[in-house]
């Protein structure tokens, strides 16, 4: 009881506990903010992979899974499975439309042949598509392209005088549009009559059709022709801005959906040898963004049948080698993998086992007379994995990095412990005589230790929760803080200067009276606040700084979700260290000979 009284008096009548609380709070907040941001990163990496992967993946290397349609049907009949979609996965070379010369650039790309409709059910394909409708500039470029491709048709509709006027408009627009908006669409519409204008619009559905761009992406085709959807970073014309948005270079000139590309893939025969490369020219219909740089810079989507034919994985007749005219069977079309999405709430591991069972049923359902059998699930080439397992090679390093960071930051824990230890050491040392007095009037050693344990528990608990609260506040507002740091408001500079002047005046007044402490504190306040104010003015003068460069870090916003698990662990750890930090000097103090303690000055 008296311990509580003493503890509360020690806490309330001195400055040092406030310093200790502040130190604990700062350390806890530091660890919480850093670990939360790191965890946020990992979560963003993992969830962005989700947009294109589904929950479980069946794959069988480059030899693929024959009769995959039957497998997809079986999978979709299971009530735990929401949807399944086949993928043909391969590598290829994509000849890009740039630069504006005969020597075009080629990109190495990973090619996914997909069934867009089922693919959209399994993944977040629809939302990952970058373009829904063209922007004003893009529409103008599309219009210029449409006119160039249909020049003769258009010329036949227009009177020669109008045509000359129109050609002038085209020439001016195709020049202006490289730099600024040209209002070409409006000017053309104004120049032509309704019938002529409707003809122009009919050249390209994207000029007027609602969400036509998005629809073409979802269909993977334009005007009935198969098309390509590019990862947003495949096209070098897309430039990421500092704030994380994208701009197409040369005022949208290099906008991918204007162009087409030549895709070359290398088919592999049954023995693993390379057959003649196959090429196809396809229009770029849209672009997608998964949120993972490694994916966005190399992956492209094409219709599955195109991919199958490029890789020779489509259905083929098997002939008798002795008599090529005799057909002895059919080699069915294959897919290299199948993506499966479970109904909401089903865990990846559970779904994987369900899928495995379904696959076993599927592979054993074929009679031995079938010419081409699917691989058994025990085949080492056949892999059934959850998305997390599939992505481990990618997220693993980030995860490890976080653990390393956390280990490094656990040094902060040691700093906290050392700090607490030294603070308590000095507190207890200062209180040695009190301990002697208490012992002389009959207090036991244990009760002395208990006083300081209570004392440290209060400091630990108050400090840690204060730290948790500030950590939460900082993490939640980390983007606003970042923005304010990069471009600090003038008002803060003004407040800093005003306070700095107050401190300066205070210092001068006290200096005349000759007191030292106010002079030291006042000068510190004057210099610090004046410095901050000056720094703000400097940052504003150079036009703001970018602390978090979104074009480097890929994610446009700093993750701002608190990692509650780690935070509570940190809070618990800090409290524990406070208790330990006090326990040692308190035990030492309790063991001090009361007579010696009483002599302590």
């Amino acid at each position: 009881m008296y311990q509580t009284l003493l503890t509360s008096r020690y806490l309330t009548s001195r400055v040092i506990p406030l310093i200790a609380v502040a130190a604990v709070a700062l350390c806890v907040a530091l660890v919480i903010v850093v670990v939360s941001v790191m965890t946020g990163f990992l979560d963003m990496v993992q969830s962005s992979g989700k947009t294109l992967m589904g929950d479980v993946i069946i794959s069988n290397g480059i030899s693929g899974i024959p009769h995959y349609e039957k497998l997809v049907n079986r999978l979709e009949k299971n009530e735990q499975v929401l949807a399944a979609t086949p993928i043909v996965d391969g590598w290829g070379l994509l000849r890009m439309p740039y630069p504006n010369s005969n020597v075009k650039q080629s990109e190495t790309v990973q090619v996914w042949g997909i069934e867009p409709k089922t693919f959209a059910k399994v993944t977040d394909y629809k939302n990952s598509l970058q373009w829904k409708n063209p922007t004003t500039n893009q529409r103008d470029w599309l219009l210029l392209d449409a006119i160039a491709n249909n020049e003769e048709t258009l010329q036949s509709l227009l009177s020669p005088e109008l045509w000359i006027e129109f050609v002038d408009l085209i020439k001016s627009a195709s020049h202006t549009l490289n730099f600024v908006e040209a209002n070409f669409l409006e000017n053309t519409k104004a120049l032509l009559n309704e019938e002529q204008w409707n003809t122009v619009l009919s050249f390209d559905v994207r000029l007027s059709g609602e969400d036509a761009l998005q629809q073409q992406g979802l269909d993977l085709s334009r005007n009935g022709k198969p098309g390509i959807v590019l990862g947003l970073h495949v096209n070098d014309g897309n430039v990421r801005m500092k704030n994380g948005t994208y701009q197409v270079s040369r005022n949208d000139y290099w906008w991918a959906p204007r162009f087409e590309g030549t895709l070359t893939m290398l088919p592999v025969d049954a023995k693993g040898g390379i057959i003649e490369p196959e090429s196809i020219i396809m229009p770029f219909v849209n672009e997608f963004q998964s949120g993972v740089f490694a994916i966005d810079e190399s992956l492209i989507f094409i219709p599955i049948d195109v991919a199958q034919s490029l890789l020779h994985m489509d259905e083929a007749k098997i002939v008798d080698l002795d008599d090529p005219a005799t057909i002895i069977g059919v080699d069915p079309a294959r897919s290299t993998s199948i993506l499966i999405r479970g109904v909401p709430g089903v865990k990846g591991e559970v779904l994987r086992e369900i899928v495995r069972t379904i696959y076993d049923d599927f592979s054993s359902s074929f009679s031995y007379e079938t010419v081409v059998l699917p691989p058994s699930s025990h085949d080492p080439g056949l892999i059934i994995q959850t998305r997390e397992e599939q992505q481990r090679s990618f997220t693993g390093p980030v995860e490890k990095e976080r653990e390393v960071m956390r280990t490094l930051f656990s040094i902060v824990y040691l700093v906290v412990a050392a700090l607490i230890l030294s603070i308590f050491w000095s507190i207890v040392f200062e209180k040695t005589r009190d301990i002697g007095i208490l012992r002389s009037i009959g207090a036991s050693r244990a009760s002395i230790v208990w006083i300081f344990l209570q004392y440290s528990a209060v400091i630990g608990i108050v400090g840690s929760f204060l730290g948790l609260f500030s950590g939460w506040l900082i993490t939640k507002n980390i983007n606003a803080i970042h923005d304010a740091m990069g471009n600090p408001p003038l008002s803060i500079a003004i407040v800093c200067f005003a306070l700095s002047i107050c401190f300066g005046t205070y210092t001068v007044v006290k200096m005349l009276k000759g007191q030292m402490l106010p002079i030291v504190l006042g000068s510190l306040g004057f210099i610090t606040l004046g410095g901050i104010g000056g720094l703000i003015l400097f940052i504003r003068h150079i036009g703001g700084i970018v602390v978090w460069d979104a074009s480097v870090y890929y994610f446009s916003r700093i993750p701002n979700e608190l990692d509650w698990g780690s935070s509570l662990f940190t809070v618990g750890g800090a409290i524990l260290f406070c208790l330990l930090g006090a326990l040692i000097p308190a035990a030492k103090a309790a063991d001090t000979d009361p007579v010696k303690a009483l002599r302590h000055e």
Binding site: Y2, L5, I441, G442, S444, D593, V595
Partner: protein
């Protein structure tokens, strides 16, 4: 001057040596003395003669050397007791008054006085203990000072608070270590008057001083010279 009362506290052949660096400094050689119920004993000695040490040994605050004699309280060896019992002895049976008051600066006057009852004490309720402390402080003329902090008090007032604290658990013996050593003569006399009054009421007192005049207030004066006791009557 009554030796007829029963023996309450006895020091037998007390020996105490302090270590000072590598050398051993003997303070008490074989000091023996007897304290009787209701007696005011003063221990007179020059500074460094070991009189404070003797008081600490008697009060269970310091331990004599190995085989360095015994302290008997009501016939029982104090240092043979368990730690818990020694704590209880300090808390309940003896009350210490120090030269430098040794009040806790964070606590008020009343809280300081009540502290021993909170640590141990024979009081069953807080209000009972509080009444006792208030009664003592009243008696010492400190009724208007209950909520003050020690730093707001004069030296004499502080020492009176210390005496109240020493007496709050109704101890058998009051051990006073130069209680006036830090006070001017007039204030010191006031404190001695307080002790005298308590003695009149039957309190057993052991007081240490180097001042013959102050020593004369006691019933029995013992001299401490060269670590040995010589009793003067």
């Amino acid at each position: 001057m009554s030796n007829t009362n029963s023996l309450i506290l006895e020091g037998i052949n007390l020996k105490k040596t302090y270590k000072l660096g590598r050398s051993q400094v003997p303070v008490l050689h074989a000091a023996s003395l007897q304290i009787h119920q209701g007696q005011w004993t003063t221990i007179l000695g020059s500074s460094g003669s070991g009189k404070s040490t003797l008081l600490h040994l008697l009060g269970g605050l310091d331990r004599p050397d190995q085989q360095g004699g015994e302290v008997l309280f009501n016939g029982e060896s104090v240092w043979a007791k368990s730690n818990r019992q020694i704590n209880a002895y300090r808390n309940n049976h003896v009350g210490f008054v120090f030269q430098f008051y040794h009040l806790l600066p964070e606590l008020t006057v009343l809280e300081n006085a009540i502290l021993p009852t909170m640590i141990g004490g024979s009081f069953t309720t807080t209000s009972e203990a509080k009444n006792q402390a208030e009664h003592l402080l009243d008696q010492f003329g400190l009724s208007h000072r209950f909520t003050h902090r020690p730093r707001e008090l004069s030296g004499g007032e502080r020492q009176r608070v210390a005496i109240a604290r020493a007496l709050v658990n109704n101890p058998s013996i009051l051990l006073a270590d130069e209680p006036t050593g830090n006070l001017d003569e007039e204030t010191g006399d006031g404190i001695l008057d307080v002790l005298g009054a308590l003695h009149q009421d039957g309190l057993t007192i052991v007081m240490v001083t180097h001042n013959m005049e102050i020593a004369n207030r006691g019933d029995v004066i013992v001299h401490l010279r060269g670590g040995n006791i010589t009793q003067l009557d």
